[in-house]
């Protein structure tokens, strides 16, 4: 009899969901996780070739030999998974959306995952960009708030990666370069999911907080497989072939420099 009642409760909950009337069917909260959890700190760095990116003042040279400066560089990281080893289950971050905006202050380019089960982890999987579902699911908040300025309102979707700067090679006003890469469906899909092995396994416990350092190299954006020539490509402001080209490049942008405490 008890199981029948339970079934009815479940069914009632389902029925409530189906009719979209959620007031009466708030599920009871999950029991608290009793296993030990710890914190993993993800830090992002931007390099150009071998050196740290300096906005606005420093000149750089792309693969094509074009000089350029950078005024803005940011991107979304989402759907982060830590892949376990030695019997540790994979950890999937909940509500995993982070806008990484290049800043001279390293702490602004970092986030922590606070509920990682104790265990050993060997690699990290993440998406550059925002998954297609969250591009079409209505008004979002947090990192996905359109007020952050990385959302195309007229052609719904997130700007997954934004590079702005200038180059004397660019035939635009003040040599302006503006690459806003987005697009989440069909041929225009720029979403890239990467799995990068950590240089060494890390252990998470209640008291051990590993740091993982990910480095994005701006030069990779213009290098391979598509060499970008600033005299012919200066602006990307909607999904399409050029955004796709750049995304195939920035799929190779990240390396993990460090993993440990």
């Amino acid at each position: 009899m008890r199981s029948v009642i339970k079934m009815m409760i479940v069914a009632a909950a389902i029925a409530g969901t189906v009719t979209s009337c959620k007031k009466e069917s708030t599920p009871s909260p999950e029991p608290p996780v009793t296993a030990d959890t710890g914190v993993v700190y993800m830090e992002f760095f931007t390099s150009v070739g071998g050196s740290n990116l300096i906005l606005n003042s420093q000149w750089y040279k792309n693969e094509n030999g074009d000089s350029f400066k950078v005024s803005k560089f940011n991107y979304y990281i989402s759907n982060v998974v830590l892949n376990g080893s030695d019997g540790t289950a994979d950890y999937t971050e909940a509500n995993s959306y982070h806008l990484i905006e290049h800043s001279a202050t390293p702490s602004e380019m970092a986030f922590s995952m606070n509920d990682v089960p104790a265990g050993k982890y060997k690699s990290v999987t993440f998406m550059i960009g925002v998954d297609s579902l969250h591009n079409v699911s209505g008004a979002q908040d947090g990192a996905l708030d359109p007020a952050k300025g990385n959302f195309w309102s007229w052609n719904t979707g997130y700007i997954m990666l934004k590079f702005e700067g200038n180059s004397p090679k660019a035939p635009t006003t003040d040599g302006m370069l503006m690459f806003h890469c987005g697009g989440f469906s069909g041929a225009n899909n720029v979403l890239k999911t990467l799995t990068l092995a950590l240089p060494n396994e890390v252990e998470v416990t209640k008291s051990i907080t590993p740091h993982i350092h990910l480095q994005a190299d701006v030069l990779s954006l213009f290098k391979s497989p598509n060499v970008i020539d600033f005299s012919t490509l200066t602006t990307i402001h909607m999904p399409g072939a050029n955004a796709k080209k750049l995304s195939d490049n920035y799929a190779n942008m990240f390396t993990i420099k460090y993993a440990g405490i």
Binding site: A15, A139, W154
Partner: protein
């Protein structure tokens, strides 16, 4: 196993009944003139299921009222001159009567005709080019468009957040006083999605109700409409919401390529979303750029004015043949799509 399914079915039925009994306003009965002032979302009989289902945005009286207040609030524009309702007035089915192109602040003009805001929950995408695919992502466009409200959403959040009158409204709609863009958009979506227009003479006729008595001319017009127009303007929403090039001469001064603006595909040039014809007698002028002032001019376009551009829709090649009498009958029918209940519904009026 069979027993389990039976239990589930019974339980679902019970849950469904409970749901109705406890005041969830979502059901599928016929609409009746509402005098309670309470918001309801009802799928009219015979209509398809809506795209917008209030997922993660439960429809509440408080959320609806907040959305309504926002819709009528000029503070959503940069110079506090215009609100959503400035270009979407209830008496014209929330369109902008007699304005070919939308008017923004500082006397600026947009490039497109403001459409009626009704039955939004059934639209798979929004605007003439379908660039927006979720109702909650629609309002940011007019708010931030430099030739419409020209305001930054960050400024709207800051401005409304500083107003004492909004604090209790956000609290009762969303649980606390926090004002953010997500809540603004969700509240506006609640208001817009509940603007259901389904009580025209035609609707009453389909339901066999008083007030639905059609004249012989209107019925003849309906029959003609079904053969000549309904391929695109499909009942019951009177649109299939596809994008089509309907043979208008492109306006060189506007240079609006329509759907291609979104897809970048040459094959989509000058295609625009088929508009619903509900309330069409109230929403002149017509077409994406408001170039025609009368229904007669619209039908004349389809009869004699279709320009065979590259992407002309197959069904419009050669235009639509009709006699003067047939044209008059179709127009008589189109006028039965005016929904007086909707445009006079006090729940949707300025609070």
């Amino acid at each position: 196993m069979r027993k389990t399914i039976l239990i589930v079915i019974i339980a679902m039925t019970v849950a469904g009944m409970t749901t109705v009994g406890t005041g969830c306003k979502k059901d599928t009965t016929d609409p009746a003139p509402d005098t309670s002032g309470l918001v309801r979302f009802i799928v009219p009989q015979g209509w398809p299921q809506p795209y917008y289902t209030f997922q993660n945005n439960e429809l509440t009286q408080e959320g609806f009222e907040l959305g309504r207040k926002l819709f009528y609030d000029v503070r959503l524009s940069r110079d506090n001159a215009i609100s959503c309702a400035s270009c979407h007035t209830q008496f014209s089915a929330f369109s902008h009567l007699d304005h070919p192109l939308s008017h923004g602040i500082d006397g600026l003009f947009g490039t497109r005709n403001a459409q009626g805001v009704f039955n939004m929950a059934w639209k798979p995408s929004f605007f003439w080019d379908g660039g927006v695919v979720n109702l909650e992502n629609q309002p940011i466009n007019p708010i931030e468009n430099p030739v419409e409200m020209d305001e930054k959403i960050t400024d709207v959040v800051a401005e409304l957040g500083a107003l004492p009158e909004y604090k209790p409204m956000f609290k009762s709609a969303f649980g606390d006083e926090t004002v953010n863009s997500q809540r603004i958009f969700k509240a506006l979506a609640q208001f817009m999605a509940t603007l259901v227009s389904a009580d025209s003479k035609y609707d009453k006729w389909t339901r066999g109700e008083t007030g639905g008595e059609m004249t012989a001319q209107e019925l003849n017009g309906l029959e003609l409409f079904r053969t000549k127009c309904a391929t695109c303007h499909k009942e019951p929403l009177f649109s299939d919401y596809t994008f089509r090039n309907n043979g208008l001469t492109p306006d060189g001064s506007l240079n609006d390529t329509g759907r291609a603006h979104i897809t970048n595909m040459p094959g989509d040039r000058y295609k625009f979303m088929v508009p619903s014809l509900r309330n069409v007698d109230l929403t002149r002028p017509y077409m994406h750029d408001g170039r025609f002032n009368t229904l007669d001019a619209v039908l004349e376009h389809y009869r004699t004015g279709v320009v065979p551009t590259d992407n002309i829709d197959d069904v419009l090649k050669g235009g639509i043949a009709m006699t003067d009498e047939e044209k008059a009958d179709i127009i008589a029918f189109l006028k039965t799509l005016t929904d007086q209940t909707f445009i006079k519904d006090k729940r949707f009026a300025e609070p």
